[in-house]
Amino acid sequence: MTTPLNLRRPSGARAFKNSLATFGVWAAVAIATLPLLWILASVTIKGAPLLFTVGADHTIVCVDESDLRVPTSQCGTEEDAKGGTTRADGLRWAFPSGGKHVAVGEKVNLYRVDTAYPAADHIVYVDSDGAGEARFFSLQWWTSSLGNATSKDSQGGALQAIYGTLLLGLLTAAIAVPGGMLGAIFLVEYGRGTRAARVVSFMVDILTGVPSIVAALFVYAMFITTFGMKRSAIATVVALALLMLPMVLRSTEEMLKLVPDSLREAAYALGVPKWKTILRIVVPTSFNGILTGVVLGIARVMGETAPLLILIGYAKYLYLDPFGDSMGALPTMISDGISVPDGDAGSDRVWAAALTLILIVMVLNLLARRIAAKTKL
């Protein structure tokens, strides 16, 4: 400091600098908040319709038993027509419960439909030029996989991707949680203050900083190039576990450190062995905190994309087998459809997948906060 401050009375310049700083820090809040709201709003607006509806580019015409047009509100849905048999002119017929007859057709003249199929209670006419749009309430997004739907087809759900994301998250946790917890127990309970603990701690920091793409390349180099295995969900899980391990380890370590030494000493004084003290006293005391870290870790790996791109093929069908070479996942569903032009059904699906992913991640984050609030420490 070259010039001593005049600290007696805030002069104009000092007061001005002070208000400038105050303005600056509040501006920072705006800069941080705006993108979050912008992202959440755009993903919700563009993605939400598809989560509960299905169908687009439909014009619906319904007729009753006497071939008279009835309001579209009395129409059956396309779901009703599922499983019908194929007829001439590409019309499919179905006889859903309630005795109503539904026909679904493509590129068929409206009047011919009306007259050629008088028995139909409801005719769902699929307009060939895409004019007009109708959406039906449906949970198809959650119950069926994308299947062979092209980027122009509005049908198909995201079941395969939701399943893949959940499965990958759980399998990753199954590997990373025991590993991370044991590592933390070593650092806090067995190795505190030793040189070995410092080396491990340093390596955990380095592992935290390893980019996900590098972790994925490492797994590729080891499992696929060197050991000759195929791309699979299991290989992906190994890469994801490498990313989750340091997160679980660090949060567990922080929690174990918070457990008062008096608890440990009380157990030792009663003759309880160290391992039992850790398993019965230390870990249960910090359990909520550890669980918080685990849930946050799962939320983080579910959003990872890079390892999936390298270690597993993206599948549009539901494959349950984690040893298979392809599986859908929400992040890869987004990156797979990113180049579909706006307005096509495939583009809507990308946003819906993004919203689904955000919902899963946010629910896990809020869950973690609830668990953390209940912690005993």
């Binding site: 009375r9 805030p10 007061a15 002070n18 400038l20 700083a21 105050t22 600056g24 820090v25 509040w26 920072a28 809040v29 941080a32 993108p35 979050l36 912008w38 992202i39 755009s42 993903v43 590993g179 044991l182 590592g183 070593f186 309970e189 067995y190 190795g191 603990a197 491990v200 340093f202 390596m203 920091d205 935290t208 900083g209 390893v210 980019p211 793409i213 590098v214 972790a215 390349l217 490492f218 590729y220 080891m222 060197t226 391990l245 340091p246 380890l249 030792y268 391992w275 850790i278 959003g303 990872e304 994309t305 890079a306 992040p331 987004i334 990156s335 990113i338 993004a354 992913l357 955000i358």
Partner: protein, 313 residues
Amino acid sequence: MSNQPEIQSTSRVGDVLFGGAAKIASGGIVLIVLIIGIFLLSNAWQPLLDNSANFFTSTEFRASTKPPRFGVAALLWTTLLTSAVALAIAVPVAIGLALLLTQYVTGRVASAIAFVIDLLAAVPSVIFGLWGIKIFGPAIQPSAHLIENLLGWIPLFGDGQVASPGTVFTASLVLAIMILPIITALTRDVFAQTPRETIEGALALGATRWEVTRLAVLPYGRSGAIAAAMLGLGRALGETIAVMLILSKVARFDVSVFSGGETFASIIARNAPEFDTPYKAGVYISAGLVLFVLTFAVNALARVVAERGKAKS
């Protein structure tokens, strides 16, 4: 407890097993970091030997030609440029946020702001990429054109021949938002530890809130903030999917921020479907190796800076 051997002896087997498992898990972590480096190097070795272009100065990256021609100059430039611009924007904002959270607000307001930042950190990077290329990029195109028109005579801001918003400029801004939460969280922790007496001393002397910040908080937290910024840099260097979705490919390398290009991470991810032979994969693994070394160095340095700051205070 060495003077109570009889109590210890009742539990030897359990402790040996459990302690052993804890040690093995920890040893495994050390081993993993080492073998990551070894496996990457061994897989990249043969393509590196056969490489007919200079690995460090060439801007080409061709894995399919025989022999392959690849260099990391363009990748290194784009990676460092996106990260540097992102850091230049994110660090001041993060410091502002950290100051606000520690010095300006308390209680409910502070936890509400912290909640927003936590949520921002929770957004998956693929969604940042999607939003960046479809919504944010087009929205900031006018300001990008403005900068290009005003400063276009500087090569760094020159016309990059990219019509879409998939420029380094867009990618950098999105990266800045992505690394903001981590830098904020770490910086806040450091600022929060500023000794109470120092702050109260300054206040007692009649310092304004900004002077307290400048004289007490910032000097105290400087090394911590630098370490936080470097950890953020490590994140930005390795960010893959957001950058891959945003950046558009360009035919010819250009230094401008309004050009497209590839970073280390994005070129690997984009070409993953081409990993049909171990040899071709090895070409891209060589890029991954450089990225690994780069992030290792940045993270190790961040830790050294943080440790030194801790020792000083």
